[in-house]
Symmetry: C2
Subunit: 372 residues, 2 copies
């Protein structure tokens, strides 16, 4: 069982299915992104919704990140409990009970939060006042995703309310999630150009309200080179770069952009062999399929088909590739890393590659299941 | 936090997102299926991959089930550790380490397992011999799903190997997962007629090998009335009937078939309101979307759109329905119950309905994340 897996064990001893981190690739990804942000004078605040792990957050901070983002109150609590000291909840919270918990948390770590409504600001101010604690407040502007965030014109009024409530206005949350997955650099450039225009409009609204804009924070792994080049964003929130999933790898890259390697894999095993198919023990309880099925790693010509919750079906493309035999290991690159990590209690950190490496570290997914 | 939720608390006190079981509907589903199987003299062995909960397994057994099915070694271990006494692992295991664990488990509970390969039988026999334990062995026949299972003609040879290895041949595993989700009764009837023919062929192969067929086990919530009417299946494995998800509810029902109610819901909350949309705090880290998005419960005209891992976007159909306001509760019926349950540590059992009910029980998802 993975529970009992000793440090130093060979990769072959890892029970399947397991979520495995190639630590060498992971560290190169860490360094690449830190160097990219550093060279441009940009703050890096990676999104911990990707890994939900205090240990990985600590590696990111050690490499130069200012802290991490999270999406949920319980995520913030779980990471803070494991020592993460600077957390930005880049999402709206309007529930009074959750806001009381966050105000309490703000006594124990540096905390910021996003808002996009008058009610949210009012309740946040009440909770912080009651707890006697402080938190940075970002006003979220909808820069094209069409999910959360105020329209640019409304940003001045909301930021003014933040300030008038005695809260610390920290700047703008400007994240375009949908742009991350546009396949061509041109399409992504267009989307972020529109997002930039929305930020400019929001900054104009702030000026009309007599307020400056301390910081614009946002961007993800699919588009950060565009936000970085915009002259507007001062902080990058990319998270998936540490692991890189199949979906991000399917994006055609920008010329000259930093490249990240796959560092997160599902180790699976063949449990059944049928006519022109092999069945592995990993289905969508082992890897999320919201962004499509996993890719078979380094076995050219083998394709993964949906086998349901507990199985994956491998077939050769054009009937050509040799199929793996019963008991053979098959490595999969998940379609989407964030919800895949959320399925697992732990990641198995391997040093020296997937073929001949050894287990160096078991990485707890501290905030697994923290959706509230 | 849900962790601290007191028994007797009103539904309104349940933190969001939470997975909530309507215990009244759940119990009616339990009774309906037990009565259906009992009236036909069929054994009921519900699939615990749906709920992964020892408490729910115990309710099923109390209602007449002979035991439960699981799909994974670690699932069997987790449920047995919580007192489940009769477990059938309706799936293939070929890993020597896992087989040793199962052989050990068979010393502590009644266990059966499926096989579909000579290697699997050989390794299972070795593991059981070493442990000095016993397990029932079902030979899986591929009845049309095209995933695991031997071809009918090969079943005689495999069953003969089981017997010659000194193992207890328990019968045939015959499950057509893909047929569960065909939308019309006619399409499902056709698929199960083909499955029945495959079972007949496998039984003929058994007879040629000089063996009888003690039991045919299989069937799921989408098709069990067809297996029950076939005269071939003696045991039903349906699992989803306890919860009923949106996908099963989308099937056009068979005339006169028992009906099951939605008993599993995601409680969510509006955290952001934009132009013609409301955003809730439940995305696909709260509910699985492999079988499509959730349905909004009892708010006619509201539709759920994909908002990513942590958000759901609600819009009115044809722009008509009134949108819920900030902080309002919205109940969702998950697209697929099994992987949705697997995302959560616990289910909140509510008595008296979703509107005015109270929390009666916190149900542990004992085998959550047990994919190995």
């Amino acid at each position: 069982m993975t529970d009992a897996l000793p440090i130093g064990a060979p990769v072959g001893a890892i029970d399947t299915p397991a979520l495995v981190v190639d630590l060498d690739a992971f560290e190169r990804n860490l360094t690449t992104m830190a160097a990219y942000a550093g060279a441009r004078g940009l703050r890096l605040r990676p999104h911990a919704k990707t890994h939900k792990s205090a240990w990985i957050a600590a590696q990111q901070v050690a490499a130069g990140a200012v802290g991490v983002c999270v999406q949920k109150t319980s995520e913030a609590e779980a990471l803070a409990a494991q020592g993460v000291a600077d957390i930005y909840l880049s999402n709206e919270v309007v529930d009074a009970g959750k806001l009381a918990r966050l105000a309490s948390l703000a006594q124990r770590c540096r905390l910021a939060i996003a808002v996009d409504s008058a009610l949210g600001i009012e309740r946040l101010a009440y909770a912080l006042r009651r707890a006697g604690s402080q938190a940075g407040v970002y006003v979220e502007v909808d820069v094209g995703h069409g999910r959360c965030g105020a329209l640019p014109d409304a940003v001045g009024r909301l930021a003014r309310q933040v300030v008038d409530a005695g809260l610390s206005f920290a700047g703008l949350q400007a994240y375009h999630g949908a742009a991350q997955h546009l396949r061509t650099p041109a399409a992504r450039a267009t989307a972020i150009a529109q997002a930039t225009a929305a930020v400019h409009a929001a900054q104009t609204a702030l000026a009309r309200a007599g307020l400056g804009c301390p910081l614009v924070t946002g961007a993800g792994t699919g588009t950060f080179v565009h936000e970085a080049a915009s002259g507007v964003w001062g902080e990058l929130q990319a998270g998936s770069y540490v692991f890189m999933d199949r979906d991000y790898a399917d994006n055609a890259p920008e010329a000259g952009a930093p490249r990240f390697e796959h560092a997160l894999f599902v180790k699976s095993q063949v449990t059944s062999c049928g006519q022109e198919r092999a069945v592995v023990d990993a289905g969508h309880k082992s890897h999320a399929i919201d962004s499509g099925l996993p890719r078979v790693w380094q076995r050219a010509g083998l394709e993964f088909f949906n086998g349901g919750d507990e199985h994956g079906i491998l077939r050769g493309r054009n009937g050509g590739a040799p199929l793996p035999g019963l008991g053979e290991t098959v490595w999969l690159v998940p379609g989407h890393c964030d919800p895949t990590v959320n399925l697992h209690e732990r990641l198995v950190g391997v040093r020296g590659g997937l073929e001949h490496g050894v287990v160096e570290r078991i990485i707890a997914v501290d905030a697994r299941g923290c959706v509230g």
